[in-house]
């Protein structure tokens, strides 16, 4: 199988000239789906920055999510009727 792939690549290499398509980040699918759900139109050129910001925010979110809180922990804003 490995040999097959390599061979395939070698033969592609001989034909050459085709640039490798950049690997799509899995987060891009999430952003595209989210944008569709929110009816947001995201220009392709904005994607790297949006992805970068989302990655950073999710990292911050993961740090917060990793903190164990009891089930009855109340969020900071408490609604009063």
């Amino acid at each position: 199988m490995v040999r097959k792939v390599l061979r395939k690549n070698r033969s592609k290499g001989r034909k050459a000239a085709k640039p490798n398509k950049p690997k799509r980040d899995p987060l891009d699918d999430f952003i595209v789906a989210g944008a569709r759900a929110f009816d947001l139109k995201i220009d392709e050129a904005w994607m790297p920055a949006v992805r970068g910001h989302l990655q950073v925010t999710l990292r911050h979110g993961a740090l917060v999510a990793a903190f164990a809180l009891p089930d009855d922990a109340e969020p900071a804003p408490v609604f009063k009727a």
Binding site: F38, A49, T57, V64
Partner: protein, 460 residues
Amino acid sequence: MDWASASEIARAVANGERSALAVTEAALARIKTLNPKLNAFTDVVADRARAKAQAIDQARGQGQSPGLLAGVPFAVKNLFDINGLATLAGSKINRSHTPAARDATLIERLETAGAVLVGALNMGEYAYDFTGENVHDGASRNPHDLSRMTGGSSGGSGGAVAGGLVPLALGSDTNGSIRVPSSFCGIFGLKPTYGRLSRAHTFPFVASLDHLGPFARTTKDLALAYDAMQGHDADDPVCADRRPEITLPALDRGIEGLSIAIAGGYFRKGASPEAREAMERVAKALDVRREIEIPEAERARSAAYVITATEGAALHLDRLRTRAKDFDPAVRDRLIAGAMVPAALVNQAQKFRRWYREHVLELFKDVDVILAPATPCAAPKIGQQTFALDGVEMALRPNIGIYTQPISFIGLPVVAAPVPLTPLPIAVQIIAAPWREDVALRMAQALEQAGVASAARPNI
């Protein structure tokens, strides 16, 4: 009176040494001369200011008290409503808004005390900014070095006060937007307790984190303005129903009896030599050696980051749908990303906020004041994209607030006190327990009187 403080101006006007109109004309002239360099103002309301000043002079002539801020020129970040102007909030989009039909509550309160509004100030778009740069109006420029940032998002407020255009300005602080410009521009700034000052009739950013407060070149001016602005306001549901707790009479009480500690751990990481030097000078002046750890400060900063991203996105979602290309791209892309963050993380951040508040308040059973750096470095160059913290290169824009975010996250009152290092100033945060602005102001006053904290006059 180019560099006169608000209290000096008010005294001169009250005594009849200067007319409010003469003070106003002088301020308008300084703005005309210096604003092309500093780019602090986006609107100047000269006719309104002259009319107000004349009314003050007339009232004084008739024997009426002109107020504690008589004739003091001031300006506000352009997210405050000013009667007759569209409230820009640093954006292109809001320029098409209907002009405000009244002033923000805090403008009304300062004018009731005799102050004179002279204009609106530049800011980072929709307050999602720590730099003071703005793609629509140009960058606010630091009076100590015009090639450097003022800090943001209240960049024009920092530049206008540090540059001597006005002795007093108002700004907002969601994650550090009063304390960062205070640090980079070398002036005093007060971020009061969350809910202390009314935010009514201003353009919001993150409702659960937004604060408003004053900038000045002396602690006394901060206290004067703060005292004049206190009081419940039914127009802001977050504004606490508390009677004003006037700080000025006790300002000179000194620090005797106050228990002070330096924030260690997280707040020791990433600081530049300048930030460390400022902290050392302050600690030495106060003879403070005690260090305490604010628990989970890094996580608190992360939680503030998540709440900011998501609430900001929710506020602007419709504008992102219809006018995405009219945003500053740096703001737009962050807001779009914020719209994608799962709600579970936001809810957890709000739960963690309560946990963190309870644990930090425990510290205040034992200390009255905690000292921490305001910014990791002095003012960076305008346009600078990255900086190194502890040798690690990282994006500058979102990381300037690493020391301010864990504090505003739970609404603690803070005075940013400037230490006039050469060539650039940098501030220290004086952090007090909720509703104890008086303690933070007293400590800032003590540092000012000791000559450790002061607003250095720039050579523009």
